[in-house]
Symmetry: D4
Subunit: 252 residues, 8 copies
């Protein structure tokens, strides 16, 4: 709740249009709806028409996800986006709601995608074939949030010519999401070539001393390239969300 809204609320109290008890209540109750006894659905501040609401599916039962989705749609939300959605839950929800499920990215969408907007293109690059599921989570998230996305998969640093052969895409991006497991060097090399922000996503791809993505995570945090920041291991959603925020920053 920002200062402007607070002053407005207090003004309503001052001019008698809002009793103080109701104002206190409003301050407490307004921003969320209870769904059963397991979640408080957050109807965010500045949500514009057509922007999807997002459900993080991990650790929720299929019944909970369905309940939350229905509450959102019932509040007038046009599009609902679900991440970390396993197939079984997707099929359960499909019986009730018109969900489109993407098995690679493990995401589901109810409603229409918004048309691409923002300053330019979001490029999603991966080091290898095995990083694609995480990259797709990032790419689909960015698309759902209204971005044109370009995919650049399997351009890992041990075959640097594959990356150099795609320099035009790198140079044309507004934001780049660099997804890599194993030694996690892709963001450093891309960060040195590009002059736009790079969001680095370590993946848990690898074995032995990759320690489930820790090796890639550390490499990315220690990148000697400037303009690189990092999200959690396998956090494609977080990268896609951050990229979209940057790509739409001028509109704010």
């Amino acid at each position: 709740m920002d200062k402007h809204e607070l002053t407005k609320l207090l003004n309503s109290v001052a001019d008698g249009t809002l009793p103080p008890e109701e104002a206190a209540l409003k301050l407490k109750m307004e921003p969320f709806h209870e769904v059963g006894d397991y979640a408080k659905v957050d109807i965010h501040r500045g949500i514009r028409q057509g922007v999807p609401e997002i459900i993080y599916g991990a650790g929720k039962t299929k019944e909970q996800i369905l309940g939350i989705a229905k509450t959102m749609l019932g509040s007038g939300q046009e599009t609902v986006f679900i991440t970390r959605l396993i197939k079984e839950s997707a099929e359960f929800i499909k019986k009730d709601l018109p969900l489109e499920y993407n098995e690679t990215s493990r995401t589901g969408i109810i409603g229409k995608l918004p048309p691409p907007s923002g300053l330019g293109k979001v490029v999603v690059a991966t080091g290898g074939t095995s990083d694609i599921p995480v990259a797709e989570e990032a790419a689909v998230t960015a698309e759902v949030l209204g971005n044109e996305v370009e995919r650049l998969y399997d351009v890992g640093v041990s075959g640097i010519h594959r990356l150099l052969g795609n320099m035009d895409h790198i140079m044309n991006a507004k934001v780049i999401i660099a997804v890599a497991g194993m030694e996690g060097a892709l963001p450093s090399v891309i960060g040195g070539l590009a002059d736009c922000p790079v969001i680095a996503v370590p993946t848990s791809v690898g074995y032995g001393a990759s320690f489930g993505g820790v090796a890639a995570l550390l490499a990315m945090l220690n990148s000697c390239a400037s303009g690189v920041s990092v999200v959690n291991i396998d956090n494609g959603f977080g990268a896609g969300y951050m990229a979209s925020m940057i790509n739409h920053i001028a509109e704010k």
Copy 2:
């Protein structure tokens, strides 16, 4: 080297204005200058007039830093910015060059600061007083790169009213740099309040199980707020650089 420059170079070869041997040499030699036998100074692709060149001072002798700075200034660079500059080196350089040294942020500037540009303000917030040196490195970096910076220090989450009392600054930012040690919760709370990108900087402030900033780093990587990405522990420079890149993204 992007596709456009490559095609142009090849055209010069095709029309006979550039012999192939020279072209090969140019491809190899053009982008950097050797300084002594210890560094290759990188004269970046698209550097516009007036944008400072940056020297990372850690692990370099004072003589090496001076040598690199002179090479840069000799190449026509108007402003040189040095990070991780210890006082002793700063005083050594001052004898030869008009360096202004900032002891808190351990940075030095030779030449003039560019006037603020970009889409809006960069807010730099810290959890506590001890995080200020890292925050200043971020703030000064952003200023050197042409950003208006607002400082919001000592607004840690254990006294949440201090943060809420500054909601107007939070809401007016284009990018927020959230700097915190100990439990590293500041970026999560700010990320939930703001609707702009948040760059999280863990600091090595703390003791015991803070493990030199690891506790804060992990907390930030696991932030449940969307729109948060993370840089290395104590990496104020990286955060400032990333923030500036985002703030200037529309100009690219």
Copy 3:
């Protein structure tokens, strides 16, 4: 065995009512009963009538749990409380004993709950929906030990208004149990708002660099709020027990 009991025992020996050999035996044998060859059931010192005996179910076979429960009930114990009880074991025990099983908290109760006592209310708060099983273990434990419990779920710090909207519950608590995974910031924020002891419970909720709850654990240990102490990852029982002990401290 405290000093008072020891002096009393020695007095009995001194006045001839207890032969020394029997006294030595009593010192050794009194405080526990053997159950089969796999457990020594501890009949605690100062146990008052009506306070439940507790069985930690993890790592015990269903037959062992049943055996221990029967021994306790046979010793005159009115209520038996079992934690970390998997469904299969619960169903096995139900055939013999009138067990009530709570699937969310994975706990079982044989016998009646004591009426709430203590100084005031125990509040159990969670950061998200996925933390509820651990929170329920804490809440049920506190209830079994004679406390009035208030649940405040899904009030994580990335939507700080949800927490602030419940300030009255926070301010009315005698003890607060703050349960959170991921970045584990909830106890810090609550600790800054409340003026009662906060027991922090990290959960293994999260992925990637949450390392099974380690990120949350470290954040909580490094809390910059005063009046916060921490129990093991997912240790809802420990938090509930500690909270009850504090809530009943005046009675001791």
Copy 4:
């Protein structure tokens, strides 16, 4: 800010005694004072007369500590307590203010100690001689906050008779702070003997695989005794504060 104060503030706006702009300002500015540009001194909600204000000295310059202390005393605060205060800073402050410095616990007090209050005694126990500085930080903190403290030093578990020989103190405590390095077993043994809350403090005492207190920390988190919770490595202050909060819980 609790619900009661909020309603009162809003009532003042409603009855015209407080203009809405001032109310908004008050909501933002009231709870803290700025000291220089490096700290926001928190004048807490319900502070009763005579309760000391606390300054965490680590990471602050001696000038900053002096500045904050003066601001506090200037606000009418009678007693100021400083932790993690190094000797050099103490001597600097002594020139201006009547500070009493305790070298073992590295704490300083300006003003008078409050008389002991609370439900009973706080016992502070250590495993060895080397744990005493941390234990003293806990003990002095508890004393400063109005508790009677009993010290029980060098009663480590490898000589269990030393602990058993002090059973009367263990049994008479309202809260016990168990401080130990190395294998960190003291809280487990005390937790099994006592029937009051035990605050465990791991210390960085040890070498090799003690990893600066990590071994003791892990042992304490994994304590098989109920009623044990843990604070950060070497965090004597946190333990003393928590113990005082518990000891005064009935007064709240």
Copy 5:
């Protein structure tokens, strides 16, 4: 191969009873037999009649274990002892050989146990019920190697009277194997009470910050009691073997 045997071999060469080529061959080939192409069965130096040969079953197929056991029995070995033997492999071997399988300790024996020998008794103590499988591996190993074993289970430090009630067994032991998970404090307390060597065995019993036995391992390595040494997590066999070696040291 010790010096004595080497001199004897060389003497045989010197006096012509052994051709040098055969001697070289003997030096190379004598100490082991090849079994299939997957193992070299080690016919140890000083093995006395009646001492069992040991097979470490983990990571070996049931066919490999059977093959090695047959080779051993075929070499005149009277007793074969198999550790880390899963039930399925045990049943497979039983079809061919008279194996006795112990499901708790996951060990199998083919042939007769030797009568107890050595200086005295080996006591095996555990902190809890869940540590029993590891303790049984230790106990059975010691029995197989010719030791009288006393079991003292569920005497963990959070109920110190259970341990003190068994002081006579502790005082009568020649070697004590202390097995514990969670905080791993048992060896420290026993080490302080007993005046014989204590072999500490951390177990992977626990959850959360026990990290699969690491907490217990670190605690044991940092034991403040003298006369304690440690084996690997869950390594009951290693402890039993070491204990037997110590108990038979006078016979060597």
Copy 6:
């Protein structure tokens, strides 16, 4: 792309035989083929006739592996080698292509093995029986790349005579691959005996504090023997490839 090829390409442009646009395209497109949308098959620079192309099977679906293999064979490749190939995928591929599957090393070959070449023999040694699968991956890789391989299995350091009994093989090797789990000491001992390069491969064989191969990895990195370098845990392929590269170094 090396300097020689670049100069040649530029010469073609200079003499008009290659239009600049095509040259730019060639620079981008030549080195790899797209397979579906999931992989870029790398047709390496200097590949000589008869040298196998390699597919890393882990993290790829059986359909993807088959697709890549067909593309390679379609490009004229005579032999294709697949590592980390699970049985199910192998059987799927066998339906279409003449694959020979090795279950121990989890590798598959399509086409003929090259005859052994190189400077000498590659010896593959293991500490125990359980290390054999990793060792076989190394051995088969080396064979596929044209090396004569000698296997020396189960020669771990706790029975040093088994290793000493094979000194002739150690002394005759050109490169030794030393594979070991648990304490990982084999490369150190071999490195002290041999005077050729030793490639150390830690395996995840072990339990408890072996931490999935970390103990062995650390031991090998800390080897006090000279001439030892290390690959990732369980990376038999990497060791075999490196060994082959060394064995064929004179041919380059």
Copy 7:
């Protein structure tokens, strides 16, 4: 306190020779003496004439060490042994007491050494020259406790012939202490050669991935040799004490 002593005490109470209050007091006070307010000196149960009392010097001030030593000598103790004694403290103590200081092992002795006793020799072996200080702590400890010690330094596994050249010492030992840093392989190799107990001592010798002795510690815990147990990093004292206990086990 063992059962026998307890019965005797109770008998004294029963026959009237000891009043119960005094008995209670005796149970509490007998086993230790207070020294100042910083230590409880433990006058152990079964201490025979001539056996030295031991002070662990680390973390104690020179004044504290002197105070404890004087208390011990005042109690009739003939020999006092101090470990982890820095030179400065040694020189301080020398002014008052006839201390002999050993700079390599950082130990001091006041009084006479006992003549060697026990079953046989204790061999102390090291991997390298840098491990000698830890080895000397072990060796001197064993000598002080009445053992004949044989030193076997710089026999690391990367030059296995140095170890094999000393097989006669290895074979004649009753207990072997194997001290090594870096890869920590020495105990495994010795454990495979010897048939007596091996106490492994990891040292913090090494750099990089030795992590202050962790690599050696893990290697030793994972030793594939039987009859090896481990003490803390750099814990020469613990190893010497354990070795002496084993060597004197028959006397108990």
Copy 8:
């Protein structure tokens, strides 16, 4: 000792030219010389004339280093090479022996360097300026062992054109040593470009989550390029030794 030498020794015994006792002695004593009581100098098996003997200086006193060097030179050794030699020790040795000290690589040489031999050139590349000391240790080691070395410093992956501009050196190398701190990506990129063995050396250059070189180490172990193996953090010597061994492999 290889089989051939053993057979020869045994033949001498068989034909009477060598008494068996002397043979046993020779087997034990021949390969090393004792220096004082702190080191066994290893006079290696196959050392050819002119190859330097190496002393690892870390953890040795200046007197010990001097003593070992004199013993070596006294045995007829022409060149002695000392690594990890601090300036103070170097100056001490210079008083007695004609040592040449290299401050950057912290190495010293007594005697003449051998002329370059081997199959080709060893290239030593670094990611940054701060990696140069480790790289110099590698380079000087390789030179001392008879290799022509090419230095390629400051060619890190965040400015990939610097590396690509040196492709001719990369393509002409027989072995490449890739030295990098921070994200440690250099070996992966070089490994993908070169077709010779790459020895990766992680350095402790970096801060925060570089953890003293662990980030770089993990990245290198997880390299997706084939033909890369890794040595310990900062182990320039090990890399130089391994590289030389590979470069001279054909001569063996």
